[in-house]
Point group: C2
Chain length 308, copies 2
């Protein structure tokens, strides 16, 4: 971790791999990351449907985030060009950042976490923070509960939409309005951008969104950079508001406590699965779903098995 803090990207990469692997190894890394992670200036989640230009916007925001210090980027999006360890892709798309020692970009596989992607992402965010990154950017494709959960691990969540968004969202069963702190209508040079903005403003005037904060709606063309500075200003504005109202600390603390509860369930699951290769675990969960076993009894039984 000391090496990672000094800017050794390979060391940071190895630690992240341990976090992704979960279990004892993630725990050992977690032990290193207590304390300093509170020092991170801002954790920013970027989410939206595939093809909305999240990655291009992330790319632009990295440059602006560098004003705060070093930057860590986590791409939890199988469709992201930042993702899949595409080193060539990074170089082509981000010539400025590939040579910048202050920017660390890492993709996170969306599979192989045994359902624990959100936990792995939370651990990875904490590691990047502990490694001294001032700003952590997390890109997720905004569909499904896990992605919303990951967005919940950020201080500020940016939801990226496009003109004509209605169709895209309807298709993707989004839960995006709930988690958005900042809206960006990207590709705003296209037809229907003003309509998309008006629609969003109308929705937001109805009161959906985080408490005490009316999410602003920004227009941007990430591919040319138009409007991106305003997006950054809005992201920073949200951080200022969180800090001024004491919500920054409260949010982060609650996230940690919630994570502990989720880890507890996962530990029990691991213990019980380890007993007999998962047979007993499957029997119990199936019995609950089939209403042959009450959740109270199932929980007690699982806890007892975990203690063996």
């Amino acid at each position: 971790l000391a090496a990672a803090r000094d800017g050794d990207k390979a060391a940071l990469g190895r630690l992240l791999s341990l976090v992704e692997r979960g279990g004892e190894q993630a725990k050992a890394v977690g032990r290193l990351t207590i304390g300093p992670s509170a020092a991170v200036d801002q954790v920013i989640g970027l989410t939206g449907a595939p093809g909305t230009g999240k990655s291009t916007l992330t790319d632009r925001l990295i440059g602006l985030a560098r004003q705060q210090g070093t930057v860590g980027v986590l791409a939890v999006d199988p469709s992201s060009p930042l993702s899949g360890g595409a080193i060539l892709g990074d170089r082509v798309r981000m010539p400025g950042h590939a040579l910048d020692d202050g920017v660390f970009i890492r993709s996170m596989a969306t599979r192989g976490h045994h359902g624990g992607l959100a936990l792995a992402a939370a651990g990875a965010i904490r590691l990047l923070a502990a490694a001294g990154r001032a700003v952590v950017l997390v890109e997720t494709v905004g569909v499904g509960q896990v992605e919303v959960e990951i967005a919940g691990a950020a201080d500020t969540t940016v939801v990226v939409v496009n003109p004509g968004w209605g169709d895209a969202v309807q298709a993707s069963k989004a839960g995006l309005l709930e988690v958005a702190d900042v809206f960006v209508v990207n590709k705003a040079d296209r037809h229907g951008a003003d309509q998309a903005r008006q629609d969003l403003d109308r929705v937001l005037d109805l009161g959906v969104g985080s408490s005490g904060w009316r999410p602003p709606v920004l227009m941007a063309v990430a591919s040319t950079g138009r409007g991106v500075e305003d997006v950054w200003a809005a992201i920073r504005g949200h951080r200022d508001q969180l800090e001024a109202t004491g919500q920054l600390t409260a949010r982060r603390n609650q996230q940690l406590v919630d994570e502990t509860g989720r880890l507890l369930v996962r530990l029990v699951e691991q213990d019980v699965r380890a007993l007999d290769g998962g047979r007993r675990w499957q029997q119990i969960t199936e019995a609950v779903a089939a209403r042959r076993l009450d959740p109270h009894e199932a929980a007690a039984e699982l806890l007892e098995l975990a203690g063996q």
Copy 2:
């Protein structure tokens, strides 16, 4: 339970008290309720800000729900006239139902569950189902995470709003759009009802809401009964769609598995608190929030303590 199934309301009331008490007693009742609860025809959640007329609407819907068989009503709303064990209130407001043996109405205290209100409500819903109630209506005041969680335990969630809703919702930081399967603009004889409906339709056209189901927006005046039959038809329509797409069973099964996970965390909390009156529990959760302890370590420590 056999007595409760035969229509003995006092027996059903005693069982509900045990569920509310939690712990071993709730577990014992839970053991009785496995299996038959799958037979419930529809669990309907009604939620909305205080003063929107949820209780009056619930009252009207009880009569229509009686077409399906017996009805159980759970009022988890401190401001509800159905709530607080207000027998006189019930008689005054529901002259038809007070004398109807097929209708069982129970209020649930919102305090004293040690943060486990959602779990208590889930257990109560399952008990009413196991006691043979064909339809279970759950009324909650739609503010806060717990209320949204309870709404999530229903097959169909009805969100009640009023003309001029924008202000009310903005004030109450609602998370209601996400959970709504059916919207009702109640008090629709007031000024601004059409506007409220148009606003909602516009929001819903943006794609917010459950997958594959565009929540309809109904106009009603619950106090006179106007539009209530259409509301009931929409509620039943949602049930038909859930069944046709296989989501009814899938939703219910997932709810049970999720509940098992939450109960597991609660059992561990109870065990650890019991060790020393809660000191160790407080130390650990505070250490996590203060970042002196990693969530992985905290979870492992709690699990070990619970096994003692």
